[in-house]
């Protein structure tokens, strides 16, 4: 009898069931999408924040003092120590290598440029988009990844070529355009493009690393290395000195993607190096990230509240409309418990169906949001599914409870006369 009551109610009252079902589906869908977006937003924004450039710098440990003014290194090139280019692919072997978006080695050299060696300029050797191998794995890295604000008019040079980029101010001064030649230390090189960087590079020549090493006469030399890594905002643990930690704490520190622990791991793989966070980028990243995450969390709460209300409102309306039915059941001698049980069973069934459909819809919605805003997938944790379903059932239950209680308490006489 119980099953039949529920079944018949679904069969006969399609419109009402549909209305309530749609409300639950939409509510669950919105909640799923918002939770998925909120849990993933940290990762997505952290990737966007990489447009601010590298957050770590690796320099030789025994280096002499930098003499940099306005981005121009005044130190004689013979001075100071170098990193070895051969060590760079090892970065791929660190614990957090998945978090390392890219790295660019830099080697500044002073050269004379122009038709008769008229101008002294800085030449910066680097990777543009270089393919490296670590073990059997191939990966691509260079300034096109770590310095996304660099814009080139013309073409990026090939990393194995002798072509160069000319900074836009330098190009304007020398009157060169992409495709022209330029003499560097008396040797002609092709200008493949004009670089606009909005920094000191605008007055420099940017060349493949190999060319800079050749000019300097130090094969395999790298002056400094910029690393762009996805990191976790700094907290109290991050700021502690690893030397003072016990083994367990150290493991936790080492296995968290803090900028400090990534720096520590970089020093481990690159011999005689000193890795440090670039505080301008690394410190601010944490604040911006936590603000945006906090905002999304609060908004997700608002979304959950709104969908819970929508579901309860729909359920309350659906049950309120059926109080004459309740009256009839009560008049025929049904106790309040069996009557409530019928309604709760119906609500649960609706919640389960709405929950499954809503979850699927919400997952699609989250993917659509991810693709259209961040150009990447928003992954939905499968563990969300039972949680969402449980929330849907609880909210539907809670939303119906008050209405069911009122319907059951109502005198059957009034209910049947249609008065409430």
């Amino acid at each position: 009898m119980f099953v039949r009551l529920v079944y018949e109610s679904f069969r006969r009252q399609k419109r009402r069931k549909l209305l309530a079902g749609v409300a639950i589906t939409l509510g669950v869908g919105v909640a799923t999408a918002m939770i998925a977006v909120a849990t993933d937003i940290g990762d997505k924004i952290s990737r966007e924040l990489r447009t601010f450039g590298a957050n770590l710098i690796v320099t030789p440990q025994e280096d002499t003092l930098d003499l940099q003014i306005g981005g121009v290194d005044l130190r004689p090139p013979s001075d100071g120590a170098y990193l070895s280019e051969a060590d760079l692919p090892k970065i791929r072997g660190t614990f957090w290598h998945h978090n390392i978006v890219g790295f660019s080695p830099m080697l500044p050299v002073n050269v004379t440029a122009g038709p008769s060696g008229t101008a002294d300029v800085a030449l910066l050797g680097t990777y543009f988009s270089k393919t490296l191998t670590f073990g059997k794995e191939e990966f691509v890295t260079g300034v096109r990844i770590t310095h996304p604000w660099w814009k080139v008019q013309g073409a990026w040079p090939d990393d194995n070529s002798q072509d160069v980029l000319l900074g836009e101010r330098l190009a304007a001064r020398l009157g060169r355009r992409p495709g022209d030649d330029i003499d560097i230390n008396g040797v002609p090189h092709k200008i493949s493009g004009i670089l606009s960087a909005g920094g000191p590079e605008d007055n420099q020549i940017v060349a493949p690393l190999g060319l800079a090493q050749q000019i300097l006469g130090k094969p395999g030399a790298v002056r400094r290395l910029y690393v762009s890594a996805l990191t976790k905002p700094e907290d109290a643990l991050a700021r502690r000195d690893p030397k003072t930690m016990n083994a367990e704490l150290f493991d936790r520190w080492y296995c968290s993607p803090y900028v400090e622990s990534i720096a520590y791991q970089l020093q481990e793989v690159i011999p005689h190096s000193h890795a440090e966070q670039i505080r301008q980028v690394a410190q601010n990243e944490g604040t911006v990230l936590s603000r945006i995450k906090g905002l999304m969390l609060l908004i997700t709460l608002a979304a959950l509240l709104a969908s819970a209300l929508a579901v309860s409102a729909a359920m309350a309306t659906a049950i309120f409309e059926r109080r004459s039915e309740v009256g009839l059941m009560r008049a025929l001698g049904a106790g309040s418990f069996p009557v409530a049980a019928v309604f709760f069973a119906e609500a649960t069934l609706l919640a389960l169906i709405g929950g499954v459909v809503g979850f699927a819809g919400g997952a699609l919605l989250a993917r659509a949001i991810g693709r259209s805003i961040f150009d990447s997938q928003i992954t939905i944790e499968p563990v969300l599914f039972p949680i969402i379903l449980a929330i849907a059932v609880i909210v539907t239950f809670a939303g119906s409870a008050l209405a069911i209680r009122r319907a059951v308490k109502l005198d059957p006489v009034y209910a049947l006369r249609g008065e409430a």
Partner: protein
Amino acid sequence: MSSRPVTEPARRRENSPHTSMFLRMLVRAAVLRRGRAASALLAMVVAAAVATAMLNLYVDVQAKLRREFRNYGANIVVVGKDGQALPAGTLQQAESVLAGRGMAVPFAYVVARTMSGQSVVVSGTDFDQVKKLDRWWAVTAWPAAGGAALVGNRAAAVVSPKSEPFDLSFQGRVIHLNPSGLLTTGAAEDSRVYLSLSDFESWTGVQPSTIEIAASGSAEEVSALAQKLAQAIPAAEVRPVRQIMEGEARVLGKTRSTLLAAAVLIILTSALCVLSTLMGWVFDRRRDFAIMKALGASERLISSFFAAEAAALGAVGAVLGFVIGIGVAAWIGRVNFHSPVEPRFGVLPVILLGSVAVALLSAALPMSLLRRVEPAMILRGE
């Protein structure tokens, strides 16, 4: 209604001023069915509050995040052409162009020698301003008095390894300095020694060659400002810092789009909530509808009655919701950004119109259903 005492409304009717029947019906309908009216109003208020909060946040979040992004430091750099010092008065010119919408900090640089003959870059600047511009500088103690220097942590190993007072010479002139604290940034600043501008100028006679400017405003406003600066100071190169500007624009854009998507979803859900509650409310009153019709009221009168009711509910809900929503937005602003979100009264008409429209829509749907039914059927309870 039959169970209510007859005397009470009758007494009220006599005492009350002669308001129109229409108005009285509106008010009495809400008063007599307090519970249902309250739940419909509650749905309306919650929806309007959520919508207000979301719209307020959407409008304000840009300004809030921009302030956070200003912690990245300068977005415009003014340098003398070919590394020359800027002409005197450039800082004042830059500040007059800025007119309070940002700050400008001068930097002067020379390469000095330590007593052991090592070269080190020494910079003169305005410490009070740098503190505000470059918040990421980790400084153990800022210099307070004259003759005090801020030493980069790599430079410290060269000039003053045990933070003892040290001497620097530039073109034969020697200055005696007390290190006040260590500076760590992870960039070129670590290899420098910083002095106050007055100490620096009296020692070297060199004028600032760089002015770093943190201008507030959108990307377009900052670019326009950079152009204005270039016109006002022809002797200098004005460079917008693309690294900062592009990163900021990108992150802001993505955040705003996400927020917009969230706002649309949440507002839709709350509209749905209102729709189902109000539809229930109107549908629930089919007996009133039938009685009016049976007593000879025209379709138009009944429709306008229900429409007025819905519109009143929407308007009251919108105003109450607006007030609550502003409170919620301010609270979110304080919790998350440590400064309240400014109330935007421009949002009110939007919320008001939207609420009334949703309310009218939710009244119209059950009305069109009821219109097709004979009053007798409804009164018989079918």
